[in-house]
């Protein structure tokens, strides 16, 4: 029985022994952290819960545990600092909306103080702090070329790639470098959300002319996360005209998005073709060495010493997202500030448990089938059924391919999951899709989107 099941079994029995109010108060957000040589460590959210469990329920908990597993000799309770922050990521959206409300009255806040108001650029992002690896070489090289001669070589420049891989960093670095090298050039960095709200405000205040004037006067326009313009027709129209005006004058335009222009839904054809008219570069997930290099740079910037084995542990366990890497580092940094010593490997492991362990366990083959079925808008049971209709076979092969690539399932197991198909069917499917992915960008994007949903949900 694994840790989670064991604790669920304990809770299931305990709920009959104590009152519901007590159960809700003291056992909320508890879980087993580790189990070693008969010693079980249970994480509780705060010191109050720890005292209570240690003094009041320990006997009951221990009895239940012993009844399930005789090897357990001792139960310990610990308050984990990391436990809380993992759940804190959700309110992100809220922050933005609250801030937007506060700012509508014009009250400036401190957080924006570091950001240059005319350009919206954050000076923190520079080329010097950007780590280059094989996965972002092209985008980086193109950015450097743009900085040397804005508006001439790659115009427009379009960067795309997954969440937290450095698109914004690169975009802002271009802006900052140009501000430095060509101080008289007018630069503006916008998120597409802000661009949209400016369009809306301009329409409401009957100041569309001012708005157009402001943008068409720019030398360099940078818009981040352009995929959010999907479905916003009026904003797209304004962007289209702005784009044309700037492009005609040979002024540099830079966009970023989480997917290539082709895969942005509800984007007008004329905008799409313009995005594709310049240079498109992608940033993908960094390899191990680059992740390590990124970590080292960040550590150096903060004048912090962290052991190499801790760095390697981080780099090998957090693979998809540089922002997550930074978050993990922040946690270590907080530990360092509090204890005035660098965390050891064991300490780092326990500090980072919630960051590192969660993603891998959530994905099951069932989830893959569900996501693929959802993506291609069909029933899950059709995917598993024996039908050989073309519109079903293709998604089924995609699902098999993802199971092989992402979950590392064996071919016979994959066959079994799809209604007892032969392992050769699975092999054929995976090879076929693998080949097609290289040839067809559309398919590659489809698979990427499914993967993103898989890891983000």
């Amino acid at each position: 029985m694994d840790k989670d099941d064991l604790w669920r079994a304990v809770l299931a029995q305990l709920q009959f022994q104590i009152s519901p109010a007590n159960f809700a108060t003291w056992l909320k957000n508890t879980y087993i952290v580790s189990r070693k040589d008969g010693q079980l460590v249970v994480s509780v959210p705060n010191n109050f819960s720890r005292e209570w469990l240690e003094n009041k329920y320990n006997k009951a908990i221990f009895h239940i545990l012993r009844a399930i597993d005789h090897d357990i000799k001792e139960v310990k309770y610990t308050v984990e600092r990391a436990a809380q922050s993992a759940t804190k990521q959700a309110p992100q959206k809220q922050t933005i909306s609250i801030r937007a409300m506060e700012n509508s009255s014009g009250q400036l806040d401190l957080r924006e103080a570091r950001i240059d108001r005319a350009t919206n650029l954050n000076p923190r992002y520079t080329f010097e702090s950007f780590v280059v690896g094989p996965f972002n070489e092209l985008a980086h090289a193109a950015s450097l070329a743009i900085v040397k001669e804005p508006g001439t070589i790659y115009n427009p420049f379009f960067i795309y790639g997954g969440v937290g891989l450095g698109k914004t960093h690169l975009l802002q670095a271009v802006g900052n470098q140009i501000t430095k090298d060509f101080p008289d050039k007018k630069i503006r960095y916008m998120t597409s959300e802000r661009f949209t709200s400016e369009v809306v405000a301009a329409i409401r205040n009957h100041s569309v002319d001012n708005f157009r004037g402001l943008y068409r006067d720019l030398d360099i326009l940078i818009i981040d996360d352009i995929q959010f313009l999907a479905g916003k027709e009026k904003t797209q129209e304004e962007l289209f005209h702005t784009f044309n005006a700037l492009y005609e004058k040979g002024h540099q335009i830079i966009f970023s998005s989480d997917r290539p222009p082709k895969s942005i839904p509800a984007l007008e054809e004329r905008l799409r073709s313009r995005f594709e008219g310049g240079m498109i570069a992608d940033v993908s997930a960094p390899d191990f060495e680059t992740r390590l290099a990124i970590l080292k740079t960040k550590i150096q910037n903060r004048s912090l010493t962290i052991d190499d084995d801790v760095c390697e542990y981080l780099a090998s366990n957090i693979q998809r997202n540089i922002r997550e890497l930074e978050g993990a580092l922040n946690r270590l940094f907080a530990f360092y500030r509090l204890n005035h010593k660098a965390p050891s490997l064991t300490e780092a492991k326990s500090l980072l448990k919630s960051v590192i362990q969660t993603p891998s366990k959530q994905i099951s083959s069932k989830k893959v089938i569900q996501l693929v079925a959802e993506f291609y808008d069909m029933q899950e049971k059709d995917l598993i059924a024996a039908s050989r209709k073309k519109e079903i076979v293709r998604p089924r092969q995609v699902a098999m391919y993802i199971m092989r690539e992402e979950l590392k399932h064996s071919y016979p197991l994959i066959g079994k999951k799809f209604g007892g198909k032969d392992h050769t069917t699975a092999i054929y499917a995976c090879e076929k899709i693998q080949k097609e992915v290289q040839e067809s960008e559309i398919l590659a994007d489809e698979i990427n989107i499914i993967k993103q949903r898989m890891y983000s949900g």
């Binding site: 109010a21 007590n22 809700a24 108060t25 705060n46 010191n47 109050f48 720890r50 005292e51 209570w52 003094n55 009041k56 308050v79 600092r81 809380q84 922050s85 804190k88 309110p91 809220q94 922050t95 609250i98 506060e102 009255s105 014009g106 009250q107 400036l108 806040d109 401190l110 957080r111 103080a113 570091r114 108001r117 922040n330 940094f333 907080a334 500030r337 509090l338 204890n339 005035h340």
Partner: protein, 375 residues
């Protein structure tokens, strides 16, 4: 339970502990206080599971015991009892209060249901500070903490301990206050933590007037503030424990500007009055405008709103630097000025849309920073 206690001590203990009691639908026991007698010490505690308060004092105990009672029943009773000695006992499960002609039993909940307040175990980092100095300093920054749940890390007060002193800072992202204390002698602990706003407020309210020192015990998740009365005979010991806020406090030093366009020296009281006068006309946005004119050597405070009218006042000031027009939420200015004692204040402006710094003239232990309103 069988104990002979001083009424005034018990009254004080209840009044203090009660501050931590909370109304909770899921755990009604939290609205009560735990009264316990053990080895000649009577102790009253309460908690809302965020902070815990304990007040202990000496008493003659013949038999140990515990009860959980509603403070709203016992406190008013103590108001009317004239004698200073009262006898506490048990009647069944309930608390028996006896004093001269009074014989009262107060309903008690099961003491086993009362949460155990986590006390420091002795292995934590410890710092000794002067109680009054700490609370006074804290009171100057605690009002500037953020209220939004969305950014928990600024919803508390940052404490930074260094060998020679202590820095306390709070910000709600529109303004920021920093207070620096210098220790008379160096202490070994160095480190920082974020104390939730509620705990900070209680700290000021409860410990603010107490003479002597306070011991702070720190573990990664919790801080305990302990005060022991210097008068050993009373044996009064007050302890506040609070969880700490997790997260990294923003690096606020970065936002304090280094270069200023305009500087003013001004009478603090006069300036405050002028702002308050202008505030009457500031309207819903609380917006007032400052026009700083170095040529005329004057500061003009104006405010207007369609509902109220318009206001304009001139104030002579010592001005260095450039002409500037800048708008503020008047509350943010008054809040900062009110924390200072000095006769004059120094105002420094970096730009129309950048932070403004207010300093007490002649004192360098306090800094207040406010963001303007975009014109």
């Amino acid at each position: 339970m069988d104990a002979l206690v001083s009424k005034s001590k018990l009254k004080e203990a209840l009044a203090i502990a009660e501050r931590a009691a909370a109304k909770s639908a899921t755990l009604p026991v939290l609205s009560n206080v735990l009264l316990s007698a053990e080895k000649n010490i009577v102790q009253v505690s309460a908690t809302d599971l965020e902070i815990g308060l304990t007040y202990a004092f000496l008493a003659t105990t013949k038999q140990d015991g515990k009860v959980v009672i509603a403070p709203r029943l016992l406190s008013p009773l103590l108001q009317v009892i004239a004698t200073d000695q009262i006898q506490l006992g048990r009647e069944g499960h309930d608390l028996l209060v006896e004093a001269k002609e009074y014989h009262t039993s107060i309903r008690s909940l099961d003491p086993e249901e009362f949460p155990i307040i986590p006390s420091p175990k002795g292995e934590e980092d410890r710092v000794d500070v002067d109680c009054r100095v700490l609370c006074k300093g804290l009171s100057h920054v605690v009002g500037m903490t953020g209220q939004s749940q969305a950014r928990p890390e600024i919803s508390g007060v940052l404490f930074v301990f260094e060998k020679g002193g202590l820095k306390m800072a709070a910000t709600d992202s529109f303004r920021l206050a920093e207070k620096r204390l210098v220790f008379e002698k160096e202490q070994p602990f160095e480190g920082s933590f974020i104390l939730p706003q509620k705990a900070a407020r209680e700290l000021v309210a409860i410990f603010g007037e107490l003479p002597g020192k306070m011991t702070i015990s720190l573990s990664p998740v919790q801080a305990a503030f302990m005060y022991e009365s210097e008068d050993k005979a009373s044996g009064v010991r007050i302890q506040l424990v609070s969880r700490l806020i997790e997260g990294e406090y923003p690096r606020y030093q970065d936002i304090i500007p280094e270069d200023y366009k305009t500087k003013i020296a001004i009478s603090r009281a006069e300036f405050t009055d002028h702002i308050k006068a202008a505030s009457i006309f500031a309207g819903k946005t609380n917006e007032i405008h400052l026009v700083i004119d170095p040529k005329q050597k004057e500061l003009v405070v104006t405010a207007q709103s369609p509902e109220a009218g318009a206001h304009k006042a001139r104030l002579a000031a010592d001005i260095q630097g450039e002409y500037m027009e800048i708008a503020f939420n008047w509350r943010f200015l008054v809040d900062g000025l009110a924390q200072m004692k000095s006769e004059n204040a120094e105002l420094k402006f970096s730009s129309e849309e950048g932070p403004a710094v207010i300093l007490p003239m002649g004192e360098d232990d306090y800094l207040y920073l406010a963001m303007p309103i975009r014109a």
